[in-house]
Amino acid sequence: MTIYRYDGTFNGLLCLILKVARDGKEPEGILGPGDGQEILFPAEEIRTDEASAQNVFRALKERTSARTLSEAYHAFLSESPGMDVCVLRYLALAWREGPGIGRRLADEPVASVHETARRVAGERHRFLGLVRFRDTGQVLYAPIEPDFNILPLLGGHFSARLPLERFVIHDVRRKEAVLGYGGTWALSSFDPRPPVRDTEDDIRVRELFRSYFRSAAIAFRKNPELQRSHLPKKYRKWLVELDD
């Protein structure tokens, strides 16, 4: 019985793939850093090594396609239970079948991975719009609470857009942040306290936007149900234009 334990990162998963490929044994289980304490059998630890992860990445990309890897990465970031096993199977299948795997949409694990990847990409796209920066005087600071671990998918977009600003996009629940400066960005653990304070100037601009937001709605067309379907309550917490 082979059970592996890895550190829960995508690089870790790539190293696990290398191990599985070398041993030629299909794993019976994969454990993340925190889980599986109650399991009786000892799990084999996978050491994450950046360089070999990069090699696996390159080899996979050459043999399959950039698209296949992107699907796998997006699905992985969903952090849904069991998705790492699914991604592992997906990449193993891709290794055997080559780029044609993208066409097997009606089969597992392709269907699950693509569907999950689509949801992660969807949430990322949503947050390209929903990130709200507050100008603290030193940096632009935006707290967010996404379902999926989308921070690594947001950094590039905002650093290309705001190369003249220092900015922080803070995943409040995961206590991580994208730190952007001068057109580049990095991920870092982040848990500020005391909480970021508002400046007078920022409150003034926020008030302007709130006023704009209110007057942009057409009273005759009022349709809160439609608003809710586009903008579920769970995403509203950090939106400066909303009262609730």
């Binding site: 949409l105 709200r132 007057s215 349709n223 809160p224 439609l226 379907s229």
Partner: protein, 416 residues
Amino acid sequence: MNTCDKLAVLSDAAKYDASCSSSGSKRQNTSGTGNAAPGGICHTWTEDGRCVSLLKILMTNVCAYDCAYCVNRRSNDVPRAVFSPEEIANLTMEFYRRNYIEGLFLSSGVLGSPDETMERIARTLTLLRGLHAFNGYIHAKAIPGSSPELIERVGRLADRISVNIELPSERSLNALAPQKSRDSILRPMEYIGGRITENTTERRLAVRAQDAPRFAPAGQSTQLIVGASPESDLTILRLSEGLYRRFHLRRVYYSAFVPVSDNPLLPALPRPPLLREHRLYQADWLLRYYGFTARELLDESTPDFDEQLDPKTTWALRNMHAFPVDVNTAPYETLLRIPGIGVRSAKRILSARSCRSLTPENLIRLGIVFSRARHFIICSGRFCGEPGLTGTYLRNRLLSGSRKRAQVCQLEFDMA
């Protein structure tokens, strides 16, 4: 009046323009602030469920014209305000860097003459692109009757440029918008359409990109008001079809008429015809992405859409001789015509069926609306619907099958 009050007045005056799209431009950031996202990005949704993508404001709601359908008409008693180009540029930058918006949508009432107004719009855009090095999305209005030189200037600064036709026939224009003529609207549209086509060629042939500056890379759009004048859906849809073909418009927007006046020339509508607007949007999609023509969807004997059923299903019910279709062999164009199958699921069917013969379970997995499509397809060698269910019976089944009552929503994913 302070900025906050002005903003309230001038966004209130701009909100009846239905266009919200920020898509279709690939403008990159060149050491300044902002870029364009080709697919467009929505930033929030107001209480009416419409998205906010751009800061949509008028430069002024002072207007020399007196168009009966318009809230800003000269004879209307509303507070008036004027933004300076500097104020608009600053507001845009402050909102943009906080990621409130994707860019600016600037329109205006006619302040003095069309050319004076257009000149102020051009000055605002110059400030943004120059002084503020802003590379985010800009949608600007071309004021009917303004000169080609000014339209040229604005077209080089903006991503999208639009002229609103508003009323779908010359007769209605004459009756309700006496200062505008069909000509003053169509001439700038024709000019813009010509310049966009020309520009595409210029840019293809240019050795260096800077030799051929972009002209409205996100194309041209327009808006038609639905329900303020007596035109049928057929008239409106044929006009749209002509605009897509002749001027290569990227989008035609439809705006359900909101009663903003008690002018006797206007119909007394109890509420805006939102469902009709929705059906027109659906039909518009069928023109642009599904290969339908206006004539296939409507004719003189049925010049208006069935509000109960979507235009594609209505078409299918009138053309049952074209069905059932075998999803495992039918070409893409035919798949697109099956109710319950859209662009995305048709493409998925094409890829998935190259690996295996598709079963009904596979189809559901691929995301087609099986409860609707089944009446029109053959799959695994079998007709998936109920034998003998035709005509009115089938129609009723499809009506009750759509779980929710026909609902008004906004089609806003823009595949431009």
